[in-house]
């Protein structure tokens, strides 16, 4: 069939300008120009000219049947999808052509030609290979290549039997490694023994299903062996909270909201793919966690999300980046692009964009949360019944993401970067957006018996879990493929994005299909649930999988783990005393310009924070919407005043000093951020995400300590965890060097308030108001602090101001004060100490503050030792749990039963002034401070 082409070039191509800037920033400083030409390949008897208006808007794009690039202007690299793969744009081109009456267009593809001015051909190819395409699905199209057809071509490998009989330990390990199974020897032996019992070798598909299902990522073997998985769920069960609807058993956790609605939370990390291919890794991180919301109950609707990143310092010199790891600057900027690419088209407001660094995040931390909304009657899914149809909806299945579950459970080495890039998926938000619209319609029509997302482990994992209690029989020939060369096990394991699996009663199938068609969601009945208690699958006339569910779900060996207390190399802080005005000024500018405190809006403002029209408080607020709010408030039920309030706490520095206390502080920080805004901690739930190094006796100790600490704290506070996820693969190994991530825990809260208008934010309200630090502010506040980090130190202990009962006492007092409207602004102390909160509250109001450094001189100090602490600690100390409050002058606070300190007052001049015993130590204009605060992140993002 005839193949013709249309070439288009944009006259004012911001994308090309952006790539030019990006590439120059990332090692191609000699690149002088970059032009992008798009090529539409069209197969069929089609009037090419009639399609010009579809592919080019003459106002800013030129379209032609011939290339418009001048071959002399630089080397050209053309990127196309692989012949076996369908372009994501193909359906759109076909739909547009049909609209124009060109029914005879049979297939279409899109390729991109990049012309690199100033680079040699070899460097141009290298740049393209590093940044401009994903070799799993795309490739460089050679200039002399001729396409016989545009349709996907390719032939699958046959199904193979793999016998483990007689293999030695060494052989088993080698095979596991060679096939990218990453299965420990104990698992290989169980599979070997099973082969003997069933008297036939397994197929490749069966072994793939087993090792995927038993991977740490899916089976949580590390947590199970340490007995951790049950600790948090047991604490939650003990609390028996009346608002908890679903905890730790579904794809997300659910809390009762108002008027028969439930809100949901889920946090998911995507550390491995984000470390090796950040754009794809981050976009699919969001896609995946959003599907967890859609897969809660019978389908919740996503109403908000977060992106939380931990990387090495993006300002690191090139030579200090471990060989085999990507430069953190690249990870950060590509992750921002990935978040914008995925979340904006999904139409889900960004609530918390958060970026942090740690020198040991060689394998980065990439977390995203998704919050959802669902009627309570649909919050609990049913078990599929024998005879129910397994209905696969959404995208086609491709080669992307194969072995993601096993690879992400393993550590990362320099070699992993190239070897396992196939494990990184490619996301197409439009596909997910379509079923996000359709799923609530299916749900409300009563057509969904059960629903789950396809994530790690693909169809294998989704069908295996859904059919655990029943059985399932799949016909893999019914799975729509975008890559014709997939063999059976690849179809089962593919982690192609944007797919969900539904259990639909046979009598409801036709109606469900009609709804999916109306919303243009592709669907395929790929099998049925049975009562066989077996996982069965056939492909091309052969039975390729026949496993007992009991073996799949109960035979995974859990090996005992040795646990040993680590010898921590921690040293007490030795911080210099600030004496001169210059030293104080440098310290203040240093803290505000620190990566963790600085203005992160160059990233955050690239994500839609107001879509859905539910946003009450977004990531930035106050005057001019520049002040970080550290709080998100949404009004999810339209026309109602009810508020969904979320917060996140994540501080990678604390784990260095003391993992156990770090874990407690994350819980206290996250809850306090919401309580100070007016959310009752008794109407709040928690979500935990751990990221710890690969298992060694010492890292196991830390992990166990952290989990035990938060389980105990949660129980004592009565604030339950309802969802969480762990990753124990935070280890990077290359060139004989092993880099373990710091013990990491991020905690998110989800709470409710009856009236969003009562939520208090932190910008100052009026000059003359007094500033109160409520809570303890003595001892240990500089441990793990930003201020200590600026001095290259962590310290040997953290602030331990509160146990469960004293922090509850403080929260109760705060809630009582707020009920009486005794404070008009408030903020929780965290990284950057009091300074950062005072600065942000000033920025959000245009007002300033005068702060007295000598305790006692500005007012009363009670309940703590006023003499033993340093002025630096006063201002930079991270007294997690304590809060900064703004109190109107005529408000009389009755004898407070918790420690507190009067700090100073709000002033009308836009400046921050420090005094000691009344005499001025420092006076800085807000504008100068703002400059230091604003420039750090901007320089990173470029």
């Amino acid at each position: 069939m005839a193949i013709s082409c249309i070439y288009t070039v944009s006259r004012d191509d911001a994308e090309a300008r952006n790539w030019l800037r990006f590439l120059r920033h990332h090692g191609y400083g000699d690149l002088s120009t970059l032009v992008i030409e798009r090529v539409f390949w069209l197969e069929g008897a089609v009037d090419v000219r009639s399609l010009l208006p579809l592919v080019a808007n003459p106002l800013y794009q030129a379209g032609s049947e011939h290339s418009m690039l001048d071959p002399g202007a630089g080397p050209i690299v053309e990127i196309a999808y692989r012949p076996a793969v369908t372009d994501p744009e193909t359906p759109s081109i076909l739909a547009g052509a049909r609209a124009l009456g060109q029914d005879r267009l049979e297939f279409a593809r899109l390729s991109r030609r990049y012309q690199f001015g100033g680079l040699t051909a070899a460097r141009a190819r290298e740049a393209a290979g590093r940044f401009l395409y994903n070799p799993v699905v795309e490739r460089v199209r050679e200039p002399d290549e001729v396409w016989a057809t545009l349709r996907p071509t390719g032939r699958p490998d046959p199904v193979r039997s793999i016998s483990l009989a007689g293999l030695s330990e060494g052989d088993l390990c080698a095979l596991s490694q060679e096939r990218s199974w990453y299965a420990p020897l104990a698992q290989m032996r169980v599979i070997q023994a099973h082969e003997t019992r069933q008297a036939r070798p397994h197929t490749d598909a069966e072994i793939e299903i087993l090792v995927q299902s038993w991977s740490d990522h899916c089976y949580h073997t590390t947590w199970k062996s340490l007995g951790l998985l049950k600790q948090l769920s047991q604490a939650t069960a003990d609390i028996n909270h009346p608002l908890v609807v679903s905890a730790f058993k579904d794809n997300a956790g659910g809390m009762e909201f108002y008027e028969g609605w439930v809100v949901t939370v889920k946090g998911e990390t995507h550390n491995f793919p984000s470390s090796i291919a950040p754009f794809g890794g981050i976009s699919t991180k969001h896609g995946g966690v959003i599907r967890d919301t859609l897969g809660f109950g019978k389908g919740a609707y996503p109403v908000g999300g977060t992106t939380v990143m931990g990387t090495m310092d993006p300002r690191l010199a090139e030579q200090d980046v471990p060989a085999g790891a990507l430069h953190p600057r690249l990870i950060v900027s590509e992750s921002i692009r990935g978040t914008a690419y995925y979340v904006n088209p999904m139409g889900i407001p960004m609530m918390h964009p958060l970026y942090r660094t740690h020198p040991r995040y060689a394998k980065c931390f990439a977390l995203g949360h998704s919050f959802g909304l669902i009627p309570k009657q649909y919050a609990i899914k049913e078990t599929p019944q024998p005879g129910d149809i397994a209905l696969l909806i959404g995208g086609e299945t491709g080669r992307d993401g194969i072995h993601g579950a096993t690879a992400s459970s393993a550590g990362m080495t320099g070699e992993t970067l190239s070897r396992e890039s196939a494990a990184v998926q490619i996301g197409h938000p439009i596909t997910e957006r379509k079923f996000t619209t359709a799923i609530p319609v299916l749900r409300d029509a009563g057509l969904i018996r059960s629903i789950t997302d396809l994530g790690a482990g693909g169809i294998s994992s989704a069908a295996g879990e859904m059919a655990e209690k029943t059985g399932v029989e799949l016909d893999l020939d019914c799975v729509p493929l975008k890559d014709r060369s997939l063999t059976a096990w690849e179809i089962l394991l593919s982690e192609s994005q944007e797919r969900m699996l539904l259990a639909v009663a046979p009598e409801n199938l036709v109606q469900a299909q009609a709804i999916l068609d109306r919303y243009e969601v592709a669907h395929a009945a790929i099998g049925r649930f049975t009562s066989s208690r077996r996982f069965e699958a056939s492909w091309q006339g052969q039975k390729v999988v026949d496993l007992e569910m009991s073996f799949l779900w109960a035979a995974c060996p859990i090996e005992p783990v040795e646990v040993r207390e680590p010898k921590r190399r921690v040293e007490p802080l030795r911080l210099p005393t600030l004496k001169t005005r210059e030293e104080w000024s440098a310290a203040v500018h240093g803290v505000l310009g620190h990566y963790h405190c600085a203005d992160q809006s160059p990233a955050g403002s690239r994500f839609d924070s107001t879509v859905q029209g539910r946003t009450v408080v977004g990531p930035y607020g106050g005057r001019d919407h520049r002040m970080p709010t550290n709080l998100a408030v949404s009004a999810p039920l339209r026309g109602k005043p009810y508020g969904l309030v979320t917060t996140v706490a994540f501080n990678p520095f604390y784990g260095d000093a003391d993992p156990r206390v770090c874990a407690q502080l994350m819980v206290i920080e996250a809850i306090t951020k919401a309580v100070v805004a007016g959310v009752d901690y008794r109407e709040m739930v928690l979500c935990d995400n751990f990221y710890t190094p690969r298992l060694r006796p010492e890292t196991a100790w830390d992990l166990r300590e952290m989990v035990a600490a938060i389980a105990e704290l949660s129980r004592a506070l009565g604030v339950p965890f309802i969802s969480g996820k762990d990753s124990s693969s935070g280890t990077f190994e290359a060139a004989g060097r092993r880099i373990d991530v710091p013990p990491t825990l991020a905690v998110a809260t989800m709470g409710r308030v009856p009236d969003v208008s009562r939520v208090v934010t932190k910008e100052f309200k009026r000059a003359g108001n007094r500033l109160l630090l409520l809570g303890r502010s003595d001892g240990g506040g500089l441990g793990g602090s930003v201020y200590a980090d600026l001095n290259g130190q962590r310290g040997d202990r953290l602030f331990e101001g509160y146990d469960a009962s004293s922090i509850r006492q403080l929260w109760d007092l705060l809630l009582a004060l707020r009920r009486e409207r005794q404070y008009v602004s408030g903020a929780a102390i965290a990284e950057g100490g009091t300074l950062l909160r005072v600065f942000e509250a000033s920025l959000g109001s245009g007002l300033g503050a005068r702060i007295e450094l000598a305790p006692g001189a500005a007012g009363t100090t009670t309940g703590q030792d006023a003499t033993s602490f340093a002025k630096e600690e006063h201002f930079f100390g991270e007294f997690v749990g304590s809060v900064l409050l703004e109190i109107e002058p005529d408000v009389r606070l009755d004898a407070l039963k918790v420690p507190y300190r009067w700090l100073g007052e709000v002033i009308s001049q836009a400046e921050i002034m420090l005094t000691e015993g009344g005499s001025e130590v420092l006076r800085e204009s807000l504008a100068d401070l703002e400059e230091s605060w604003a420039k750090t992140f901007r320089e990173v993002v470029g």
């Binding site: 579809l54 592919v55 088209p345 924070s609 879509v611 969003v756």
Partner: protein, 246 residues
């Protein structure tokens, strides 16, 4: 008869529900109309007295923001569209909806199929999520009646919003109804007050009659008591007033 507004949406549209909420707050009835249902003939546009094309990423913005939606409108729904426009019914395109209207040639000149204005990538080449101030140029249009000179605050969130046209002004007698302005109310090219870098600070334009309005920022996200601003509600209230007076 109670006027009903058609909120016309397609796969990838993601602002239709909040648009309905804003219309409801203004006292207007609306229905969500799937483009596909117009194509199958299940629903006809002439049932409605006004229409809004809301924001989002229709058809994934493949081939160009709003282009496939626009292609379907001008090729397959040509007659319904012409009847609707000729009847002098108000039409509002917000964000992606504005992109659809320009790609379809409905703005600036109400000439379906003839493109005279494009909304191209922001000067920053990035998606820009910000609160913006808009100064209303005149109050000739039903959408802006009584708002001339007013400064309205509302969210803006898009990657392709920089208006581009040939010649000294957008053609077809179109008028600039909304301009990005600084805190003092002066139209500005300065980033980030003007988030896209649009020339002449263009944020929204109407056709010559003022009935068809395209606006990059999102009035529907500044319409409810829970929102940080309720200035956007003015536009929808104006539509309700126009129905009452005509």
């Amino acid at each position: 008869m109670t006027p009903t507004v058609a909120i016309l949406y397609a796969p990838g549209t993601n602002c239709h529900e909040e648009t309905a909420a804003a219309l409801e707050r203004a006292g207007l009835a609306s229905e969500l109309v799937l483009l596909r249902d117009l194509l199958t003939g299940d629903v006809r546009l002439d049932r409605y007295q006004a229409s809004v094309v809301p924001g989002g990423f229709s058809y994934g913005d493949h081939l160009g923001a709003g282009r496939i939606f626009a292609t379907i409108l001008v090729s397959q729904l040509k007659e319904q569209l012409a009847t609707f426009l000729e009847a002098g019914k108000p039409l509002l395109g917000i964000c992606n909806g504005f992109q659809v209207l320009t790609e379809a040639g409905i703005l600036p000149g109400k000439r379906p199929g003839e493109r005279a204005l494009a909304l191209v990538e922001n000067e920053s080449a990035r998606f820009e999520d910000r609160f913006v101030r808009l100064v209303v140029s005149e109050d000739y249009s039903p959408w802006t009646a009584g708002l001339g000179g007013r400064v309205l605050k509302m969210p803006s969130a898009h990657a392709e919003g920089r208006a581009l046209w040939c010649g000294p002004a957008p053609g077809g007698g179109a008028r600039v109804a909304f301009r990005y302005c600084d805190p003092a109310g002066n139209p500005t090219a300065e980033y980030p007050h003007n988030p896209s870098g649009a020339p002449a600070a263009v944020a929204g334009i109407t056709d010559a009659t003022g009935l068809v309005l395209g606006l990059m920022p999102h009035p529907e996200r500044a319409s409810l008591p829970v929102h940080a601003s309720q200035d956007g509600l003015e536009l929808f209230r104006n539509l309700a007033n126009w129905f009452r007076n005509s």
